[in-house]
Each structure stands twice: as structure tokens, then as C-alpha cells.
């Protein structure tokens, strides 16, 4: 998030696109509801009539994968009607003319054709966003989990810059991160192309810095992403994997392919708190401590680094992950002493020394409350809002992007579009939440949402079992007929391994971000006779 959670209360308008905020980020969702009740305007763009849509001034039900067209359309209307922040565009940005030239053809009528949203709603949304200042954009995986996800994020940034909504309280471009420490895992270099602090592995100066710090030469070749690793395992290029706290056999796209890939590995290590679906394929399984059983830090979606404190002992012989990693690394190094840390705080001290954004962060400081990075020095209070007065690259650059359709469009054989997501009561592959009895009571099984107009000709009644098939696999799930969803689209979550929706999804990746297209898969639905 460029801005802070607290900040949202100051927004005069929200554009929420590709985020079912009240279910996925309930605390932020409640904040949005409070702001709307106080009079903030709310525009929701989502193929489902999510809870927030009910209190929105406008609900734009776009086709999955048509977000760029919609965002370009909003920019088009705002430019055409002269509603943009001319001073901001002149002083703080570049590339306006190029962007303008691209969005020129995205007239409301043209965008209506691509997105299925009425043209007048597109105009109304554009005017609402442009004339309510500050306005915050919130988005989540509904934007990024497309083959064009990276481009869509650019289109969002264009819109925000156009209206001068960056570097202001109550504004901003605010991606909501799905997991407790997905922000921190990225910050700490858990990515194939960057060292901690997003320092490119390919940059010789940065690499040299890291080589000095770690006392060893380092590879300059960016590595493989998750899906690429699975492909490499499938083709036999990848021989061994060490997987910590992940369950790819439920969460990754195209599961049949993933299963085959993992089986072809020579060696697989799983480090987890439960015997997951993926663990069943492992050679060695290492029992890890859960969050309440160890010290450390998580970084949340607003870049706030916060302490995690040990409250209870791990069960049996389970150990905190950091101790396990140290023990393995020491063995790999052939020098156990070089990998001995006496505490999690000591690790943070080492990480902070080479991670510019974390330079001023230490466990000791965090005792008094979280700190939002960038925090360049021990006396720096942290940064609530990014891009205040100046972008990190100097001028903000408009990146013109064209609408890109999803890789797999519905056709005669697979006439519906499956879009996937999450629900309030469960979490990811469910290895944690399925072990909470009350959550299972509240949501015992997967339900595929389908519009009555689609269900009727298929003979599907509420509660029927349906077979959902894609080009890659098939699952059965109970049917929930609802007009919450756009006709032509069906919705499922990936919370239930027994209804593994990722058997269906496509491993088509965004070319830049390498995120799979979970949000648009062509499927066929048929009734299962009991």
C-alpha cells in the first residue's frame, strides 16, 4: 500500500477493484464501510455483487479480465472532461501524452463492449473518482491474478496519478496483500530476481555489496518463480526442492501438472506445521513451530513491521523455522558455527544492515509498536505514505497499456468463465482453518456460485452437485444459485482440498510478475446425477 490503513478513514471516495475486502481483509473492509457511512463515495468493480457492492454508489460488474479496458475508460472520460489534476500531471509526472494517445480509443461505448458495463456507469464512476479528493484505490488478487496483471497495475497507477491521488493522505494505490507476511517475504528477498530490499541480483554493484556482506560470490542470474520451478521439475531440470510453509499441491494452478512435477523430483523437503497434501510427496518432513511458538516479525500490507512473540512451546520436537534453516544451512556450509544465531532479533539485525528499507528497524524498537518501512535509520519514525512530494524514480511515469484479453476465453466447449477467490471463514488451502471446528460449522464445504440464468438450462438446482471441468482437470462441487454473480461467470474458492479448484486453473503467467491467471479459466459445468 502506498498509504496506511488508518489513512483510509480520510478518503472521500474509494475505487475498489478486484478485492472482496470485507471477506479477505475484514478489518480494512470494516474501515471502508465506516468511511462510506460517514459519507465517502464507493465505487466497486467486481464481477460478483460482493458485500461492499450493496453499499456502493456504483457497482461495475465487469467481465473477468477486462479491468484494463475499464481503467483506461475511466482515464479516457476524466481526460476528455478535463477532470484530471492538471498541476499534479504537469509537476510530478511524465508520459501523459503517450498515455492519452492510448486511452483515446477507450470511449465509454468501446469499454462497455469489452467489459459489459453500461457506458453511463463508466462515465459516472470516472466523474465520481475524479471529483472526490482524496480518493483511494484498493485492489487485490482480482487484479493481479491475470496474465495481464502487471499491466493492469500500471493502468491503476495511471488513474491515480491522473487525479493527483498519490502522496496524499486518504488517497493512494493500495494493493491488499493476501497473507500475513507476503509483504515481508518479498521484502526479505524471497523472490528470484532480488536480494532483500528489492536489490536486483543482476545489478553488479548491489550484488557486490551482498557478496561482501555474505562473504561469498553470488549468482547474477535471476532464478525461477514457483510456477517456473514446477515446469522445470516437470522437464527434469530441477532435481531437488526445499519447501517451507507452503502447500503448492492445493494452491498452485493446474494441480495435475504440479503433482506430476513434484513426483519427478529426486528430492523434496517439506517444512510445515501439518502433514499437508504436498508433504505426502516429500522425502523428509520437518516439523515447524507455528506463529505463537516463536519470535520474529511480520510485515503487513501497509509495510508495517510488527513483532510476533512466542507465547507457548512448539509441540513435541517441532522447532522454529529459523532454527531449522540455520541447522540445514550450517550443514550445507560445512561450518555449523557460521550459521548460528542466538535469537530471531539477531537475524533481523543482520537483515536490517543490508536492507535499506529496514535499516532503522530492530526488535528492540518494535517492542513499542510496529514501524512502517522505509525506515532508513534508528531515529526515523517510519513512513506512513509513500511518494509524498516526490516519486522514488523522480517523476511518476504514465505507462500506457492496452487491454489484453484472458488467455483462455469461453468457447462452445467450455462456455463459462471460472473465477476463483476466498471466503471469510477459511484461509488458503485450509490446513489451519479446517482444524477449527467452529469455522467448519460456519462454512463446511465448497459451494460454486452460479447465476440462475446459467444454472437453469443446465438443470442445476440450489444444493445440487455439479461437475466443473476445464481443459486441465475436473472437480465436483455443490451448487449455489445466486444473482450475486455475473451471468456467464462461476465462482469457487481454493479452500477445500477435496474440491481442489486448482485442478482446473491455468498456469498461464503474467509475463512480468509471473502471477498465474487464477481469475479467468474457461470451464464447462454439468449436473452430477445422484
Amino acid at each position: 500500500m502506498t498509504n496506511s490503513i488508518e489513512d483510509l478513514a480520510k478518503a472521500k471516495a474509494f475505487l475498489i477493484i478486484g478485492s472482496n475486502t470485507t471477506e479477505q481483509h475484514p478489518i480494512i473492509g470494516a474501515g471502508v464501510k465506516r468511511a462510506v457511512r460517514r459519507g465517502a463515495k464507493l465505487i466497486v468493480a467486481d464481477p460478483r455483487r460482493i458485500e461492499l457492492a450493496r453499499m456502493s454508489s456504483l457497482h461495475l460488474m465487469q467481465r473477468p479480465g477486462s479491468d484494463i479496458a475499464l481503467l483506461n475508460g475511466l482515464c479516457h472520460v476524466i481526460i476528455r472532461e478535463g477532470l484530471y489534476d492538471k498541476a499534479f500531471v504537469a509537476d510530478r509526472t511524465e508520459g501523459f501524452e503517450e498515455m492519452k494517445a492510448v486511452v483515446d480509443k477507450y470511449t465509454p461505448a468501446y469499454v462497455a463492449e469489452i467489459t459489459g458495463i453500461p457506458a453511463e456507469d463508466i462515465q459516472a464512476a470516472a466523474r465520481c473518482y475524479a471529483t472526490s479528493k482524496p480518493a483511494a484505490i484498493l485492489y487485490s488478487m482480482g487484479i493481479t491474478q491475470h496474465a495481464c496483471g502487471h499491466a493492469t497495475v500500471m493502468a491503476i497507477a495511471n488513474l491515480a496519478m491522473l487525479c493527483g491521488n498519490l502522496g496524499v493522505e486518504g488517497g493512494g494505490v493500495n494493493p491488499l496483500r493476501g497473507q500475513n507476511n507476503v509483504q515481508g517475504a518479498c521484502d526479505m528477498g524471497g523472490l528470484p530476481d532480488v536480494f532483500p530490499g528489492y536489490q536486483k541480483v543482476a545489478d553488479p554493484i548491489l550484488r557486490a555489496k551482498m557478496e561482501t556482506a555474505w562473504g561469498t560470490p553470488l549468482s547474477d542470474k535471476p532464478g525461477l518463480t514457483v510456477v517456473e520451478m514446477m515446469n522445470a521439475a516437470h522437464t527434469g531440470k530441477l532435481k531437488a526442492m526445499y519447501i517451507m510453509g507452503e502447500n503448492p499441491l492445493v494452491t498452485d494452478p493446474d494441480l495435475n501438472h504440479v503433482e506430476e512435477a513434484l513426483k519427478r523430483l529426486d528430492f523434496l523437503v517439506i517444512q510445515d506445521i501439518f502433514f499437508t497434501e504436498t508433504a505426502a510427496l516429500a522425502d523428509v518432513i520437518l516439523p515447524a513451530a507455528a506463529f505463537a511458538e516463536k519470535d520474529g516479525t511480520f510485515s503487513n500490507t501497509e509495510r508495517r513491521v510488527q513483532l510476533v512473540r512466542k507465547a507457548v512451546e512448539p509441540p513435541g520436537e517441532a522447532k522454529p523455522d529459523w532454527q531449522i534453516i540455520s541447522a540445514i544451512a550450517g550443514r550445507l556450509a560445512g561450518d555449523k558455527g557460521s550459521w548460528e544465531y542466538d535469537s530471531s532479533a539477531a537475524i533481523m539485525a543482520e537483515a536490517a544492515a543490508i536492507t535499506p528499507q529496514y535499516a532503522g528497524i530492530s526488535h528492540k524498537r518494535l517492542e513499542n509498536g510496529g514501524i512502517q518501512w522505509p525506515c532508513p535509520s534508528a531515529d526515523h519514525p517510519g513512513t506512513k505514505i509513500l511518494h509524498l512530494g516526490k516519486f522514488s524514480r523522480g517523476l511518476g511515469k504514465f505507462m500506457a497499456v492496452e487491454s489484453i484479453p484472458p488467455a483462455e476465453l469461453p468457447d462452445a466447449e467450455y462456455p463459462l468463465t471460472l473465477t476463483t477467490g476466498r471466503r471469510l471463514q477459511h484461509y488458503h488451502s485450509g490446513s489451519m482453518t479446517h482444524r477449527v471446528a467452529g469455522l467448519n460449522t460456519l462454512l463446511p464445504e465448497e459451494r460454486m456460485e452460479i447465476h440462475p440464468a446459467d444454472a437453469e438450462p443446465l438443470g442445476l438446482a440450489d444444493g445440487d452437485m455439479a461437475l466443473i471441468a476445464s481443459r486441465r482437470g475436473q472437480v465436483t462441487a455443490r451448487v449455489q444459485r445466486t444473482d450475486r454473480i455475473k451471468p456467464g461467470v462461476v465462482f469457487m474458492t481454493f479452500h477445500f482440498p477435496e474440491t481442489a479448484v486448482n485442478l482446473l486453473t491455468i498456469a498461464m503467467l503474467d509475463p512480468v510478475a509471473k502471477i498465474p491467471e487464477y481469475k479467468a479459466t474457461a470451464v464447462r459445468v454439468t449436473r452430477v446425477r445422484s
Partner: protein, 364 residues
Amino acid sequence: MTTLTINGKTIEAPGGTILEVSQANGIRIPTLCNHPALAPKGACRLCLVEVKGSRVLQPACTFPISEGMEVQTESPKVRAARKFVLELLLSDHPKDCMTCEMCGNCELQDLIYEYGVKETPFVGDHHEYPLDDRDPFILRDMEKCIHCRRCIRACDEIQAVNAITMINRGFRSKVATSFDTRLQDSNCVFCGQCISVCPTGALTEKDSHGQGRVWQTTKVTTTCPYCGVGCNFDLNIRDGKVVKVTSNWNNPVNKGALCVKGRFGWQFLHSPDRLTIPLMKSSLWKEHKGTEGAPSRYEGFVEADWETALDAVAKGLLTAKSEDGPDAVGILASAKCTNEENYLIQKLARREIGTNNIDHCARL
């Protein structure tokens, strides 16, 4: 600045209510319906004070201060009025503190004690409602409800859900969902904010009953393991086990609010399914140790000691590296693990294996 006197003491304050100004000046006024996270309501009449010139007693929580105001917070009249209100509340409250989950953590109990209400002079009806355990997580014992409406306000002001309200009027009024249904049948999202603000044992955490009194537990503040919002909460610990999650009101992220997973989704910690010992594929164990090994509860796996397991991991990874090069090894970090752990595992990949094949499920 406004100058007023409270209990004869001259006080200067920039503004606010009598309660706020009193608290800022170390003068305690009892409250029941007031909660720092909620807008004042003036309902419970416990914070009544004497304001000179006012015909009736005034609630300190809503009454704004004004220049020259003279306030008495502990006069005999005020104390008598509070005792009267407590006597009324006690006349319709079960006297089962011995077994009540909230004993020792109950604001009503504390005030009854402080005001020495041994017995109520009022005999009459009291509410008889069955214990409502029809829902997961939230146990509703409406006989213990004192109608302070904190739960209703939390549901409205914090969560903006409005699943519960008062129904009926007079003595029959009751906190309930519309048509008094189960919470599951309302738009309740089971965030439990209602429990976090309930001053008595009317709303409690169902799964924590009998697990420990407030003085038997310790609290550890930590960060939620679920979504990316990063809410803080307090784990309540007794005998080395988490027994409850309670709100931590002092952090800027969630200010005490939680969702159903954050507040109630902690049971997995003590699940019997937790991995407690390293496991190795039976064949791998045999390869390393030459024995069959101790069978585990998972088919095809034997229980291993840490040394053997770690050695096997190192060997497996090094074999791939030495045979096919560092890029034949792939490592997945975790969005569930701490920053420190993610830092270490990428350092392991880059420094010890020599590959940048490090990623995690950020994109999933």
C-alpha cells in the same frame, strides 16, 4: 481553555466531557456502558454526577464541560444514585459468580463490590432465557445482559454490520438479531467484537469456557497469522496452551477489532494433527541408517531424529547441486513465516546453494 471545578478542585481543560476531563485528572468515575472504542451513550447511569444548577443528575460520559461548571463526582447523592442503579441491575442478574466465565473480569461484579451492594431491596421477576449455544464461537447468556448496548454499538460502530439490536420494549427488551434468530441466520460475521466489549458474562468465547480465569492466564501480544492486514491481539495462555484470543486496543492497525479467523481461529495450534517429530520416507531412512526405523502415523514415513533428518536434507540438496548445478535446486520461502526466516532461507539458497531459485506464494 475551560476552567471548572470537580470535587472542589479547580481544573483547566481544553474541552471534552466530564468523564474525559475527570479521567485525565486522575478522578475515577465508574462506568458500564462506556467503552473507549465506542461513542458515549449515556445509558447505564453509573457515571452520573452532580452538576450544580442541574435538576437531575447528569451522565459524565456525554455531558460536555463548560466554563465555571461545578461538578461533584462522589457526593452522597451521587453515590446513592449509583448504588440504586446497581441494586436494580443486581435484581435482574444471576448470582452465579462462582461459576461465571467472567468472574474476576466482570465490570458489574467490580462495581457491586465497590459499592457494597450486598443484597438488592427489590424482589421480583428476573429474566429467564435459555443459554444460547446454537452458534459456534459466541455463547450468549442473556440473563447476564445489563442492556449497556456495547455489543450493539461495536457491531454498528466498529464492524458496521448491525447484526444485533435491541428487540422489544420495557422489561422484555433484549439484545438479539432481528426476529431473535441464531447469529448464523443473521448477517453476523462472527468477528466477536461484541464479546470483546461485553462488560459481563453475557457474551463469551464459547471455546474458552472453563479454560482459565483472567488471573490464571497470561497475555502475550502478537500479530495475527492470517491475512495481510497484520492485526495485533493478545494470546491468553494457561499452562502452556492458548485458551483464548482477546482484543488489544492499543495498536494503530486494528484498534482492537478482529475477524472471525483472528479471534477464533487459533485452535489449529493445539490440533492433534500437528507435526511433532521429523519424518523420513522409509526408504530414505533405510538408506541412511540401514534399519527399518520407527513407523509413524503416516504411511510410507518413519519417525526420525533431528540429526538424521537434517543430515539427509543437506545431503539431498548437495547431491542435486553437485550433480546438476546449483540451479537444479529450487527453494520456496513462505508468506506464513517471519521476516527473519525468509531472510535466512533466501540467504541459504543464494549463499549455500548458489542459486536464485527462491520464490514463495506471493502470487497465489
